[in-house]
């Protein structure tokens, strides 16, 4: 695995998800998500995707999300961080960009860990259903202060 690309992937993920590097590393999913993305969209597409974000300003991101090649990849990466699922790429995208991809275009839960570390639970100040429980009676307390 190319360490530089992984770092780039992580930095970009931070901008895309709105979670800091510290928070993303706390999930310990970076490598797994990088590999999954690479497998599902192919090495070349991923390299092209990462290269597109030379400096990741807000304006860049907005443009990229609207782009028919970049947008679906970015959304998939965000979704993977948020809920742990990889979702099949849209048909048009697949038709145009899948020549170098060996994996099937499918939807799946990346792993137990990916599910449990889903950012959506952190965003909502709670814990994933079925893991990281708050302890007996925690549900009776007022919700944690948002920072």
């Amino acid at each position: 695995m190319n360490d530089k690309s992984v770092q780039k992937f992580l930095q970009l993920s931070s901008v895309l998800t709105g979670f800091s590097l510290f928070e993303l590393r706390a999930s310990d999913c970076t490598e797994e998500f990088y590999e999954t993305t690479q497998r599902q969209i192919g090495r070349e597409n991923l390299e092209a995707f990462l290269a597109n974000f030379a400096d990741t300003t807000q304006a860049d991101i907005d443009v990229s999300l609207a782009n028919s090649f970049l947008g679906p990849i970015a959304k998939n990466i965000i979704r993977m961080w948020y809920v742990g699922n990889w979702v099949a790429m849209p048909d048009e995208w697949w038709a145009a960009h899948s020549s170098e991809i060996f994996a099937a275009n499918s939807t799946f839960v990346v792993s137990s860990q990916a599910y449990k570390e889903g950012l959506v639970w952190k965003a909502a100040d709670t814990h994933p259903m079925g893991s990281k429980s708050g302890g007996f009676g925690s549900w009776a307390l007022p919700p944690a202060e948002t920072k």
Partner: protein, 608 residues
Amino acid sequence: MNTQYDFDVVIVGAGVAGLIMAKQILEDAGNFRVLVLEAGGERSKSFEGHREYLKNFFEALIKIPNSPYPAEFYAPHPNELETKLLNKNDPAAELQYVLQNGPQPFRTTYTRSLGGTVQHWLGTCLRLRPSDLKMRTTYGRGLDWPLTYEELMPYYRKAEFEIGVAGDVDEQKLDGFKFEDGYVYPMEGIPKSYVDSELERRLNGHTFTYAGTTQKPRVTASPQGRNGIPNPKYKDENKNQYVPLGAVGRGDLGLRCEGNSSCVPICPAQAKYTPVKTLNKIDIPEYADRFSILYNSVATKLHIEKESGNIESLEYKKYGRGSISTKQVTAKVYILAAHAVENAKLLLNSSCKNDLIGRNLMDHPFVLTWGLSDWNAGTFRGPAVTSTITSLCDLPTRKDLSACRIEISNWGWNWATGSPYAEVDEFLGQGLHGQKLREALKNNISRQIEFNFLTEQLPDKDNRVTIDENFRDELELPRPKLHYQLGEYERAGLIEAKKVSDQIFKSAGVTDCTKYDKKDPGYFEFGQSNAVFYGAGHIGGTHIMGLNANDSVVDKDQRSHDHRNLFAIGSGSFPTMGTSNPTLTIAALSFRSAEAVLRQLKQANPWN
């Protein structure tokens, strides 16, 4: 009739009904020999098996109740996504194990493996109300039970001990339930969630109208079958304090609910009752020579003696890797505890004559309403439901429309929209990302309020389970086919729910967001209004209890009117459903029927 029996009692099904029955018979001084046949596998017996189930849950895309529990090839079970109706030219409808004949889908599920459907229950442990058992007399609707609340009281206590119920008796009394003086639940009540208390506080002093009456919202904590703080005042039958039972195979875990918030479908801690805890009490060396449980063994047919009508033997199929063998077993008494649909399937496949078999299929059909609060509700914490609004459970309006109990969701819109997944998709679709996405999700999810209006469905002979020779399961048995429809009474009750919801939401600072999708299989219209109904997984009827073979299939001991050495137990025996979840009553009836079985075994001629 031959006098050499393989066993004294054969029980079909290792769920809560069957295992309590087995335990009661084994613990009797009569030294009776018991066989339990379980259609599914035994994974839930070990801690490793439990972990496997948990992994299935984490890695399932759609986290429906059966997602941790894969169906056995030879003992399939339905899931609530299988709502395709036959005769709609959709070939998929024929592939669903439980066939849906309509006109409406029966949106429900059960589980066929050790522990049964309780594996993915929520754990709500309400008793039925005295009036629930006397619907005909009190409200001129449905049927009366051949049992009264008073007769059931001692058995409710046993059931509350066995399941390990945490609850607050005083609060239940305020809600209209009667208890023996000084009685407390084995464990103190599970704390109400923040959502519950906030709603309670905000609704204080408000009223709402319901079917022409004025009502106060009464937020009542539900008694629950999950481990809490043992109540020091509790004394069991031997005057001992209650000791919570931990996880199966790991007694040091699961001694208290940890708020994992995944009770349906799986409690990671196993703080929630599972019938395997009951099995562990009897799967012990002391009983080894007179207790057997066979897994992967599907009961298929009862053989009936012509003259007496007694059951002569039970046929079952034991399956293994690529092999199926057909076996017979004989016993003095046969007990069907395979749950309502499977009990009916077995009785019908055995050519039992009573025309009421399979009829009066019921559930607690429910509608959901949902909205966003203008306060932070701190959702997705704790058990799915800790309190319900009980104001509408037993009003005189029950003569006109079905009663309902309003569960307050602690898991936001999880059941309504599939939250939080749906929200992530929705906001992504709107082009949100980064900090904005994060804030939008926070803002939305932590304010999600959802109500589940569970209504009482009345017995209707045309709602029924039949079996269809043309569709067979993997063991070549005719598959169950459901004929199902909501009546006017239920529709009226369900539609009224939305009106109540609108008023309560308004009082509590909640903006309604409910949308019913015309394409949903549960969509229905009534008068000017419409809604989508779901099934609660509370399957009842199919072998209702009553006074004689003309009005029912079993008597108040759950013994077949026609076959005196046959019992069919579980919620299939319920003549009406009330608004309480059924399992505590199933358990109480098992305790009660066990006494009848024991009496029968002790007779000189047990099959009379």
